[in-house]
Symmetry: C2
Amino acid sequence: MTLAQRKPSSSQPATLSERLLDQLQDAIVEGDIASGEKLREPELAKRFGTSRGPLRDALRRLEARRLVTTTPNAGARVVALSNEQLIELFEVREGLEGMTARLAATSMTDQQLEDLEELLMLHAREVGRKKGREYFRQHGDLDFHFRIADACGNELLRHAVCVDHYQLMRMYRFKHSARKGRPHRALREHRRILEALQDRDGELAEILMRRHIRASRDAFETQLHEEALG
Amino acid sequence: MTLAQRKPSSSQPATLSERLLDQLQDAIVEGDIASGEKLREPELAKRFGTSRGPLRDALRRLEARRLVTTTPNAGARVVALSNEQLIELFEVREGLEGMTARLAATSMTDQQLEDLEELLMLHAREVGRKKGREYFRQHGDLDFHFRIADACGNELLRHAVCVDHYQLMRMYRFKHSARKGRPHRALREHRRILEALQDRDGELAEILMRRHIRASRDAFETQLHEEALG
DNA sequence: ACCCCGAATATTGTCGACAAAACGGCCTCT
DNA sequence: AGAGGCCGTTTTGTCGACAATATTCGGGGT
């Protein structure tokens, strides 16, 4: 089975509501709709050429993915994406993705491990070529963290990481470009995690994943500090 | 701002959709609607005396809480709640609640710690009186795990634990009554976690919480094994 | 000048009806 | 007898209109 067949995520949305979900999600994640902006149903419905029914459906799903917050009788807003919320996201990811790494060590197939190794080699070339700028913009199948969660063998966990919290993380990456030098370090940390997975050492894989996410968070906080100073 | 204002969770649902959410949730968690059952919109709308609009809204929210699964053009079903899925839930909880315990150690107020200690004393009396049967049926504010997540100071994490996964856990408790003796052990483990929190030792609190959840899981698996044998 | 209050407007919540898709039963053909 | 296709029924997806609630803007009072 090829990779394309295994994941029908790229298939066309069967329903209007799902297409709206994709479109709105991209618009929010990529910043076309500003962070914190009010989402008025009539306006959006007209803009996307549908009625309010499917639109409300899409908004509810976006709420599940943490991209909008809804208050009764007052409508929906794009999530704030404050620095505090991003720190919160790092903490959630540390708990969740630590566990994905632990489980992936025993549930990933040899083929999946080979594919993952190949991905890291691809990333190495990208980092070298583009000075590491675009490394963090990879998403979905091209994202190291996504791949591990996707193969951890626990559907509930996979959903929490790859659906519920993933788009928020992607949104963060769009707003904050990584600091110089961080991509190289991140790549080294990814390699070490891969080695632990190849050794089928779940305990170590979890420790390394958690340290890796903490390092990302530290880099983010350092960046904030530098920006605050000048 | 007082605590009562901060948490209007006990307030009446402002909208029909929210009331439906509560009613359906209870019906599913308490077993009135069987696990795996098909949820037909016209039937449910008639049963609860509303139209299909708010009902669909409620179903979407239940999907976010893992209580129903929806497939396009094929409708919604109550979650399966197989033994495998329950194991998955234990694994998610270990990652998530481990982190809540770590954070709670630094973010809980002295008052909250006192309240938590009081709760455990209440639980001790309950376990002694009712032979521990009802201990695991406590929920919401009366649940030790819920309280810790609620006070961990990370809203994203709190939501993941207390909203997204909590009802599924409650559903498990309704179906599988705890083994004899487990409540006493669980209570002891809860006390140790509380001690770590009182010491403001986040690292230890996380370790103890994870071991506690793993112990619950082990008890569950043992129970399964015994049932399988006879 | 500031605050409070009320009407006008805009937005959300709810409903019933229509269109499209899936499901089920029946018949035919091999 | 079993498999496969056809047709009626049921269920889901979508739409537009109405009701209820929030928001905004302007006026009056202190």
